[in-house]
Symmetry: C2
Subunit: 272 residues, 2 copies
């Protein structure tokens, strides 16, 4: 279809508002005004339309607005997510319930990773955190570095080859193979990755681990924390082990989903 119309302005605006509402648990009119640049009467009008449609609830007295369960109708037709994301969602929620900090899952997409699941909206202490569908560098971001460090050598060589020609500023270190090899080596030794300290935001840091299956990386799992809330050492002591345990469980769940028979005679034929 060759586009015959310009985008419908109020529709584009309403999706910007809804997307913003999905980024946190509760959002105010002011928050939406700031995030979208829309005049407040416009924000209110669109909010009221979303409330009328059932996708949003709340008002000022409740501290703001939030999405309702009905928003699942707006994405229920998309099931193309990786099995690792399907299997990992509940574990990420479990981690946020246990530790309160936000957790995310990312998968490889060409020469970067994409956040496919995030519990940012469920965490009351959310540093600026990659929102869902955000593409993150394999070179400078924790979620990406965990992928690069733990994927098979042949895959890493291929990815690094692609990254050498990348013009993205955050991929710059890929053009210094020796320096970056040291980074990769350190990550492999310690079993987890962290964001390049040169990359914004500077008030937070994150820790990521790979989700492995048969020496392949299915995806990566990470948390983010405020530097003001704990030291790096405290964060490592607190998060690395639970991240690794959860990653192992996610991998087990993927295994089971891929191999469990659903009929008794399938089981019989396998043991037969």
């Amino acid at each position: 279809m060759m586009a015959s119309y310009p985008p419908v302005q109020s529709v584009t605006r309403s999706f910007a508002v809804l997307k913003e509402l999905n980024r946190r648990k509760v959002t105010t009119v002011h928050d939406l005004h700031v995030a979208t640049g829309l005049p407040k009467p416009t924000v209110v009008r669109l909010l009221e339309t979303l409330i009328d449609a059932g996708y949003v609830s709340g008002d000022r007295r409740q501290g703001g607005y939030q999405v309702t369960s009905l928003v699942t109708s707006l994405s229920s037709g998309f099931h193309g997510d990786h099995l690792v994301v399907e299997a990992g969602r509940a574990w990420a929620l479990l981690l946020t319930r246990r530790f309160v900090w936000p957790f995310s899952i990312a998968v490889l997409d060409k020469d970067c990773v994409v956040v496919r699941y995030s519990t940012v909206p469920d965490s009351p202490i959310s540093p600026f955190h990659a929102t869902i569908n955000m593409r993150l560098s394999l070179v400078s971001r924790a979620l990406g570095r965990a992928y690069l460090a733990f994927c098979p050598d042949s895959e890493r060589k291929l990815l690094l080859k692609m990254l050498k020609t990348s013009t993205a500023p955050e991929d710059a270190m890929a053009r210094y193979p020796k320096q970056f090899a040291t980074v990769i080596k350190t990550i492999r030794e310690q079993g987890f990755s962290e964001r390049d300290p040169m990359v914004e935001p500077k008030n937070s840091c994150n820790i990521a681990v790979p989700i492995m299956q048969d020496k392949r990386v299915l995806g990566t799992l990470c948390t983010t924390y405020f530097k003001s809330a704990m030291t790096r050492k405290e964060a490592i002591d607190l998060f690395v082990e639970p991240l690794q345990i959860a990653a192992a469980h996610i991998a087990e769940d993927v295994d089971r989903l891929q191999s469990v028979p659903l009929v008794e005679d399938d089981l019989t034929s396998k043991t037969g």
Copy 2:
């Protein structure tokens, strides 16, 4: 907030279009025109806006239009789904991949069940099937009947008491306790439920099983098939066991998610 504006027409329309796109894998302009009642130029204009925003892709030559992975940004803030839904999603997808027919998961909500997950968009052979967020009768629908039949006696008595005053036509049988008790007894004996044959659509049927935990029903899982594609006996032979096996796995996953320690010393203290 007291509503100060009428809903923005084009916004309401665009969500109706997007919701419809989520109901199936691929949708045509004609399909959307029929489902929403909107004139085709209006449908095309809204579609182009959704494409421009990245939530939809495709065109006539691809057989129609479909939602993209970006729609997950429109619901990512909602995480209030029951753990049974989180745990069950991947299993439902697995079932559809294995059997091609659609599968759904529902949970209790007051005096009916609500479909919280459905693989209808992933199944090329989708009979009219309950879409996500649809409320279904406990009395006449398979997903609801499976709940009623297998929940604890005390809970069933309470639900039946509520249902006796229901004016919904599909709950009518709740007012004939003896007749309905026979239905419940049969379902318990055979281990699965089916939709009341008097309820539309008549060209399909479904089979549902409970997802049990400690004698409580966490939710229900079902499939739908065309009567023209197989006999009732063939459907029972094909689906009941896999449904029951998948339901057992889902329940196990819920158990593990609720109880697994994420730190080694938690594990130590438990075994200590």
